[in-house]
Symmetry: C2
Subunit: 464 residues, 2 copies
């Protein structure tokens, strides 16, 4: 029942007065505290990010670069920000890769009498199989294990990369990092040893039948072989069967292909700074998503939170002193062309970027922000704001990573900032058919947008 | 895609070495850090709490005090701890209330031509309606508003308590606190003014059709009138209709009743302290749950985490220096008889309680612990352990509330400790038909058990 909430004095006090936190001492801190409270009130009582996300997910859906849905999303982003009355809303043209999955992929292996179908999907960027591709399978757990194998053990086979997530790691993102070489480089490393394809265990701790897609790459001079993800359950089944039937054959059928590049856009919405219009704070997420689902947590949430952050400032009467831009980047998933283009244009225009913030780790309960900068004084200065964000459980300001889209701004911005939220559920659905609107929690999403708006408020008031 | 995890140097380092945190300086701190890492490894690689919870939820299910399922749960708890080889497993007899819901409740109001059915459920402890109870409805938002009404406006009617959660509050638990008087005292306050029943808006921010049950109380000398919860959508519909049809009648049918008290049990599992067996650390959750669902987050998670905390210590080779007890308390939801009995028996036996920990806020991602004590030095001492828990995102040790079951130990224990986890989703499902196993996330649950075991390890090593 949790009676504690019925008796906790602090909770009741907070309920009664919504008191500013005790950390607010100076006049500035008091006014900052009150202003951040305004931002949160607006987000929690009249937040628009959840309904914006509903539209993006349910009316547009998955929006891989080059797809018609990606273009619909560009128009949606532009119109959404125009309706909110930002000072300026515009598109930045950028050519993006155009990879298409084709018909639903098929995978199976011979177990006992018949073929056993397993859940597979093409990795993004993979070539297709040109009909059915049938070959034996050799399982490895690491690139080193593959390199140590005699070529004749690999030649003509599928290499099956089956290293699971290291569940000991507290952040699933660290496990993703540690297992990610299999997806990114598996096909290239397999092809170098004469393999005909790569089968990759899905990058997740979850045991289910959702294959996880995600980008892979080829290398000049290395044969391009197909690469597919297996669901974790499929990977376990295949691994078990291989112990009993080392010579079993796997059959893969994928019709994916890469088409010519397509014209697309970043979407930019801007509020001009009232005092220092030439100093820019960018906040963004990426508008493109994988095609298997609605792209809710990856990264619809980052897009709607970025738009919301600007709306919250205006609606709270906190017009920023520095220029603030919400940027919906195109093509994070398989090329980062939008992020690169944004930084190029900023440089060409001689823009002065104070900070860039990205939300691309899902729309879960906030924890704080990761700060990417070589300047320790910047970290120290920003950490002084922690008490203002702590009442909202968003005060964890630590050195960390910004984000892929804002990465190319590294040499132009004083700090790159990654929005940090609870990460335990993210890789259950990441890049799968399950990354849909129903996985997003309204308040968790709103709290994130408010945290981002609050940080922007402080950055825009105090500078760096 | 979240490329940041593919490049973040810290993540890769951690992945490679699972290095002890940099905060570990002294030899003691180094060994503590390594031991806590052992606890987490055990939990994350070989954790048993999730499968234990699956059994409790899916094979036993809802287990309100006095029900056959509550007794099955007692046997399950005893056998589970016996199998784990704790030094001593025993039951503490306690008489508990026995309230039964009866057939599914019915509620409807007349809107336009026909009756509109709405989702209702009896509040725990309510009397039934003895057939159909039909009356007009008067809506109020607060007890004061009710008190200010002339008696003739209330007499013979249902009082409809429709104050929603205050969504501005960051912790939904604080909103629960602020709205909770309606459920607890609504029936009594309504009856004092001659009303025939109380209709209470469900205690949640979620807008859906799940009514939320929960305990209510009567007062000597005040007529006992039936009290029901309306889903938030039903409450909104009724409120809207009342504006159009102030004289509308509501019809309620509930067959609930309170039967004579029943014999039940707390379940206690104990590991004897190797150095100071007379100093006791209790860790617990409550075994009873509301009857509408499986009682997963409330409080199956607290039970399996408490058992797991002891198992983790043994499996990690960290036999505690002080005595540690896992206690599955009976009857938190509607009486707290188990918690009271445990404290009584402890007092009668002259036991020395060092600390008592409760997990009863759901099994979500850990944040830390709330410390309830009048002794500031205890808080200061415990906060020094924060760096050891921070690498696991469980280092937030702040003054707070312990828990209902351990509350009666307040005068006997040096500190009461409430396990603190992310709370945004808890009140969506709390006391509803949706509080089922599928809402619990394996890693979130396991991280909680490991956090509790780690704190117990420190308490048992250093004392207070």
């Amino acid at each position: 029942m949790l009676h504690r909430f019925l008796t906790a004095a602090a909770a009741v006090l907070l309920a009664a007065g919504l008191a500013a936190p005790a950390t607010a001492q100076t006049a500035d801190a008091k006014s900052d505290s009150a202003n951040i409270r305004k931002i949160y009130d607006e987000a929690l009582l009249r937040g628009q990010s959840y309904e914006n996300l509903r539209y993006l997910c349910q009316n547009i859906g998955g929006r891989l670069s080059g797809s018609p849905q990606a273009e619909q999303a560009v128009q949606w982003g532009k119109q959404t920000m125009e309706k909110l009355g930002f000072d300026r809303v515009y598109l930045q043209e950028v050519m993006v890769p155009h990879w298409v999955r084709g018909p639903k992929e098929k995978g199976s292996f011979k177990a006992g009498k018949g073929n056993q179908s397993v859940a597979v999907c093409a990795l993004g960027g993979s070539v297709g199989t040109k009909g059915k591709l049938k070959a034996e399978v050799i399982e490895v757990r690491s690139m080193q294990e593959l390199r140590d194998l005699p070529t004749e053990k690999v030649k003509g086979k599928f290499v099956f990369f089956n290293r699971p997530f290291d569940d000991r790691l507290i952040e699933p993102g660290a496990a993703y990092s540690a297992a990610g070489d299999q997806r990114r480089s598996g096909a290239v490393e397999a092809a170098k040893r004469g393999a005909v394809g790569a089968l990759v265990r899905s990058l997740t701790s979850a045991l289910d039948d959702n294959p996880h897609t995600g980008t892979m790459r080829y290398e000049d001079g290395v044969t391009q072989v197909p690469a597919a993800a297996l669901s974790t359950l499929a990977a376990n089944r295949l691994s078990e069967q291989l112990k009993q039937t080392p010579g079993l054959t796997f059959e893969l059928e994928m019709g994916c292909q890469t088409l010519p590049d397509v014209k697309s856009y970043n979407v930019v919405g801007e509020i001009k700074g009232s005092k220092y219009p030439d100093e820019i704070i960018t906040v963004g997420g990426h508008l493109d998503s994988w095609d298997l689902a609605q792209g809710a947590h990856d990264d619809g949430t980052g897009c709607v939170q970025s738009i919301e952050a600007l709306r919250l400032l205006l609606a709270s009467g906190l017009r920023p002193e520095r220029t603030v831009r919400a940027v919906l980047f195109m093509n994070e998933e398989n090329g980062n062309r939008g992020g690169i283009k944004y930084a190029e244009l900023a440089k060409a225009a001689g823009e002065k970027h104070l900070a860039a913030i990205e939300s691309d780790g899902g729309g879960f309960t906030p924890r704080g922000f990761g700060l990417e900068t070589n300047n320790k004084a910047t970290v120290t200065q920003m950490q002084k704001w922690s008490p203002l964000l702590q009442p909202y459980n968003a005060g964890n300001l630590q050195p960390g990573h910004g984000g892929t889209d804002i990465g190319p701004l590294k040499d132009q911005a004083k700090v790159l900032i990654g929005y940090d939220c609870d990460s335990q559920r993210y890789f259950d659905i990441h890049h799968t058919a399950a990354d849909n609107f129903d996985k997003v929690h309204k308040r968790e999403l709103e709290l994130g947008g408010a945290a981002m708006a609050s940080l922007i408020y402080l950055l825009s008031k105090y500078g760096l």
